[in-house]
């Protein structure tokens, strides 16, 4: 296979993988933040009772 075509393929794959890593990483961070916030809220409600 042409080495230029291999490099093209690697660069394209890298761009797609990085895009997904950023998007899914952000989604995971958001989900963790949401869960931590929920826990904090329920702890605060229990303490105020």
């Amino acid at each position: 296979m042409d080495p230029r075509a291999i490099l093209d393929h690697q660069f394209t794959a890298a761009a797609y993988i990085i895009t997904w890593a950023i998007q899914l990483g952000y989604l995971a961070w958001l989900a963790l933040k949401w869960r931590a916030q929920k826990r904090e809220a329920s702890r605060s409600t229990r303490n105020s009772r």
Partner: protein, 234 residues
């Protein structure tokens, strides 16, 4: 009912993402001069479009906050949550643009980066909104939201400059795909379809995470208000 609607929307979004990926990689033909690396375009351009849209939402939220902060505090908080969600998700998409662009540029131009108008204004846009998020994260006190709203409005002023940069100045960045004169536009219908599906897919994905970010921020606001009330009552 609400949970079912969210689940359905998320399912449609995932299906669109898979379909968009399939279109970009397997259906769209290879471009004659740039070959396979041109397929980065199907993620790069839709990400830029969604980033611009979300910065516009942040602008609307910032204006709303400044307009409502004195007479309608509840509306002001809702506007502020939209401003933050738009800026944060916009930064995520803008980060994708600033990473996929140089990956393409390394193969197409032989360099990772050049200080041309389109690239530089996009980097400035990203830096302004990162500053906005840092301000929100580390500043405290009643003026924080107002300062953030003003910064959000200034940041949004860079969006039309980024959009027009390769029309106003001679740049190394490729010519505008749409609205760039009679020769602009995607001529191949399969390429146009792949591009359209990816715009739709990334927009659907962006709206999903924007709504989630807004919801998290609203919860945070309600929790903070409740804590303040409890402290007053104690």
């Amino acid at each position: 009912m609400k949970k079912a609607a969210i689940g359905l929307y998320a399912t449609i979004t995932v299906a669109l993402m898979i379909w968009g990926f399939y279109q970009a990689i397997y259906v769209a033909p290879e471009e004659q001069t740039m070959h396979e690396v041109q397929r980065i375009f199907y993620y790069h351009v839709p990400s830029a479009m969604v980033a611009f849209l979300f910065f516009a939402i942040s602008l609307a939220g910032s204006i709303g906050f400044l307009a409502f902060r004195r007479n309608r505090p509840a509306y002001a908080q809702i506007s502020d949550a939209w401003a933050l969600a738009g800026a944060e998700v916009g930064v995520v998409f803008c980060t994708v643009v600033l990473i996929t662009g140089p990956i393409w540029g390394r193969r197409a131009w032989g360099i990772w980066w050049t200080w041309d108008a389109r690239l530089t204004t996009t980097l400035v846009l990203w830096l302004i909104y990162v500053s906005y998020l840092l301000l929100r994260r580390f500043a405290a006190g009643p003026q924080m939201q107002t300062l953030a709203a003003v910064l959000g409005i200034f940041g949004a002023l860079d969006v039309p400059i980024v959009y027009m940069s390769n029309r106003w100045w001679r740049t190394q960045h490729p010519a505008p795909v749409f609205g760039g004169g009679p020769d602009s536009g995607i001529k191949d219908p399969a390429m146009l379809a792949a591009f359209g599906w990816n715009v739709l897919a990334w927009l659907a994905w962006g709206v999903l995470i924007l709504a989630l970010r807004y919801h998290v921020e609203r919860q945070h606001q309600k929790f903070a208000a409740q804590e303040a009330q409890d402290a007053l009552d104690a």
